[in-house]
């Protein structure tokens, strides 16, 4: 007898494709958040699966902190070109320059500053929906996130007042100024993402694989040494993120497990240089993926606070 059976990746895939097409069907001006990271790489493949042979019916949007790994930017631009998609980039630098964002005194990370930039881009292009690659298994506050996550006209998430989500019937109705974040990978785990990358033979940026890099220890993590400051006419964009005299620099064989920017991403010592190696590492991992991110460590409720303010 023929077996009409889907394995777990096929299940997650068809669920995500269904969600992508609901977005195309229910929203006027959706965007897809594409950073070049592993989760959004899967999103792109799912978008291809949902919409080919047509064009992917939404532009890609990325918010740059200005502290990105150059490898990631190169990959992001190339991938968008390959897919024939329109890529919109908005930067924290622009927002600082035109005053729509202000850095808290003494704060080095620009993670929080992505919020006003994202909200600004949503307003500028009148996006009514942004598809993101967040997964519920990433972090405690994410575990309560819906597939269709409603945001009020300030872009805020109210965890106590979410729309119930029943069966596969997503309510995408909005009033003017309101907004939806949609997370097709909600049910995917870190392992699923890598298994999918393997199955689909997806290219990922080189920094996911083992390489040699100068790092220093701070806040319990190995942070990468930022690129040298060359343009003396401008202030050092990495001021505060450079190793201090009491933070000796070490050359490490390492890779990233999850990518924020160079300031918030901890490197992990690893010899993994194939997707198979990485899957092996994920299987054997003893800390969560976000254990290597400085932005979540700030407080127990760090992610929850950022989401309420309009974070992805």
């Amino acid at each position: 007898m023929k077996s009409y059976h889907l394995d777990h990746l096929q299940h997650l895939e068809t669920e995500a494709i269904h969600i992508m097409r609901e977005v195309a069907g229910e929203f006027e001006r959706p965007a897809l958040l594409f950073s070049g990271g592993k989760d959004s790489i899967c999103l792109l493949r799912l978008a291809e699966k949902a919409f080919r042979p047509s064009d992917i019916p939404m532009p890609f949007l990325n918010v740059e902190t200005g502290h990105e790994f150059p490898e990631l930017i190169e990959f992001r631009d190339r991938r968008a070109r390959q897919l024939g998609a329109k890529l919109i980039v908005r930067t924290v630098d622009q927002a600082l320059a035109n005053g729509t964002a202000t850095q808290a005194p003494g704060e080095v990370s620009r993670n929080k500053l992505q919020i006003p930039v994202l909200l600004g881009a949503i307003e500028e292009f009148r996006f009514d929906c942004a598809i993101g690659g967040a997964r519920r298994d990433e972090e405690k506050a994410r575990a309560k996130e819906r597939f269709f996550s409603f945001r009020d006209s300030f872009g805020q998430w109210d965890p106590k007042n979410q729309r119930p989500e029943i069966w596969n019937l997503y309510n995408g109705r909005l009033n003017a100024g309101e907004n939806m974040r949609v997370f097709p990978l909600s049910n995917w785990t870190e392992m699923d993402v890598w298994e999918y990358i393997r199955k689909e033979k997806l290219e990922v940026p080189s920094i996911y694989f083992s390489h040699t890099r100068e790092c220093f220890r701070r806040g319990g993590q190995w942070l990468p040494v930022p690129p040298p400051h060359t343009d003396a006419t401008k202030p050092d964009p990495y001021a505060g993120a450079r190793p201090r005299p009491n933070e000796p620099v070490q050359t490490m064989v390492c890779r990233v497990r999850t990518i924020a920017d160079m300031i918030s991403t901890g490197m992990i010592a690893s010899p993994a240089n194939t997707v198979d190696d990485i899957i092996g590492e994920v299987a054997a991992a003893r800390v969560t993926e976000r254990g290597s991110r400085a932005d979540d460590k700030a407080s127990e409720a760090a992610m929850e606070d950022r989401k309420k303010a309009g974070y992805f």
Binding site: D7, I17, H18, F51, S54, Q162, G280, V287, E304
Partner: protein, 459 residues
């Protein structure tokens, strides 16, 4: 096929060897979605924490964070419940206020847990968590036995047609591991189960706090011969949970390439959607609803290329032989198994909003991929949760009420009874103005099947 049909092997998880090798593991075969429910303090969070902890699904930083909060608030005792009580508001109030999803995998299966709250005012969250579940765990505190909440949760599981139910009789350590107490609670359940519609029920005595019968068999229950909770979750048969009988493709999006470079795509018109029931094959006759025009399936497209056959719940794009008027909200159906159709609907409903359901009010109704205007013409009865009896002619349905209603829609709906197909038999009601999702509806079997108003299109 899924490993669930094989005889049980010793679980590598219970043996503690999971993920200890650096070799890439063999892909897990399938996914079990489960939902946990119980009253506040029955031990739900502890149970989930225990499942994650004992199946070695926890990472060092999660354990560290548990230990950190144990030092601060718990007098050094790790509190497994903290693992799942994610939001700060909950930590402050000490109750789970919303649905949270947890993921873990054993070499046999991948699990998605919807952790749904037990507090009386949050039935809507249980409905949310349970709507996609294969299995529900209803927790009972062995000291308290069956209470109104247990009945309510079981009734919701039955209403939503969750195929499998586990009654986890927890805190057995606090009743001296008494077999008599276990049997007593079991009998309390069996008293009302016949009034519900659940085929597969399993009772398991356990202690979430100490881990007895969760992942490892308990030395305290020699009188219990069944599997541990995880053992049961790993082996319960879920292969037949999708409807493969009657082809249904609700159209989500019409795929029409803009200025394609490939000349073969100039006239490409694919109807994209997730198959909500049955199997479709090229050459098969299908009816397009509304309209009732019959055509033949010319091609079935996937990203990997054309296929000759596809089945529920795959996502595909179907190309028809004829130029048929089909758009988002249309449904392609097999001609040998037509759905019901009409504007007068009869449904069970769970009300989810503080503003009650009232007769005569207009709502939006979303069913598969189509959204129409609808008005509730009659509230036939409300289900009394304490007695599971129907109370006829209530004036309204309040939040967390379950009842039966009649609805009229502005345009016909093409549907199946919920008992036949969860995807084509369900709908949500959306309040106009606020756009809040206010109700979850389950359609009763149609009284009339759609009829083709047209001659066979393919002459």
């Amino acid at each position: 096929m899924s490993a669930s049909s094989l005889s049980p092997l010793p679980s590598p998880v219970a043996g503690g060897s999971v993920a200890s090798s650096a070799r890439a593991p063999v892909p897990v075969v399938d996914i079990l979605r489960l939902n946990t429910c119980g009253s506040v303090d029955d031990g739900k969070s502890t149970l989930i924490g225990r499942l994650l902890y004992d199946s070695k699904s926890l990472m060092e930083d999660q354990i560290e964070s548990l230990e950190r909060s144990a030092d601060i608030t718990g007098g050094g005792q790790i509190n497994l419940a903290n693992l799942t009580d994610g939001l700060r508001a909950e930590r402050e109030q000490g109750i789970t206020i919303d649905v949270a999803y947890r993921y873990f995998a054993t070499p046999r299966r991948k699990f998605i847990i919807a952790d749904t709250p037990g507090h009386v005012q949050y039935t809507r969250n249980m409905v949310t968590g349970a709507s996609t579940a294969n299995l529900a765990i209803v927790l009972v505190d062995a000291r308290a036995g069956v209470i109104e909440q247990s009945r309510r949760h079981t009734a919701i599981a039955s209403l939503l047609r969750i195929p499998h139910l586990v009654v986890a009789i927890n805190k057995m350590d606090l009743v001296g591991w008494s077999e008599a107490r276990y049997n007593e609670i079991r009998e309390q359940f069996e008293e009302f189960l016949p009034r519900l519609d659940i085929k597969d029920v399993k009772f398991i005595p356990l202690s979430a706090l100490n881990g007895d019968n969760v992942v490892t068999p308990s030395p305290h229950t020699p009188w219990y011969v069944g599997p541990t909770l995880l053992g049961h979750l790993e082996t319960v048969h879920i292969a037949s949970d999708w409807n493969l009988n009657a082809f249904r493709l609700p159209v989500q999006w019409v795929n029409r390439p803009n200025n394609p470079t490939d000349p073969r795509l100039h006239d490409f018109r694919g109807f994209s959607g997730q198959i909500a029931g049955g199997i479709v094959k090229t050459g098969q006759k299908v009816m397009a609803l509304p309209g009732g025009v019959i055509s033949t399936v010319k091609e079935i497209h996937t990203y990997e290329g054309p296929v000759t056959e596809a089945f529920c719940p795959q996502s595909v794009s179907v190309v028809l032989e004829h130029d048929v008027d089909v758009s988002r909200g249309s449904m392609l159906v097999g001609v040998d198994s037509l759905p019901g159709g009409g504007t007068e609907l009869h449904a069970k409903i769970c009300w989810m909003h503080p503003r009650p359901l009232v007769r005569g009010k207009k709502y939006f109704l979303k069913h598969t991929t189509s959204t129409v205007q609808a008005v509730v013409t009659e509230i036939e009865h409300r289900l009394d949760m304490a007695t599971l009896e129907s109370v006829p002619n209530p004036t309204e349905l309040a939040v967390n009420d379950l009842g039966e209603i009649r609805i009229r829609t502005a345009k016909p709906l093409f549907y199946d009874g919920y008992a036949t197909n969860r995807l084509t038999g369900s709908f949500i009601l959306i309040e106009q103005g606020t756009n809040a999702t206010v109700g979850a509806g389950m359609l009763l079997p149609p009284t009339e099947v759609v009829r083709s108003e047209h001659q066979d299109y393919a002459i």
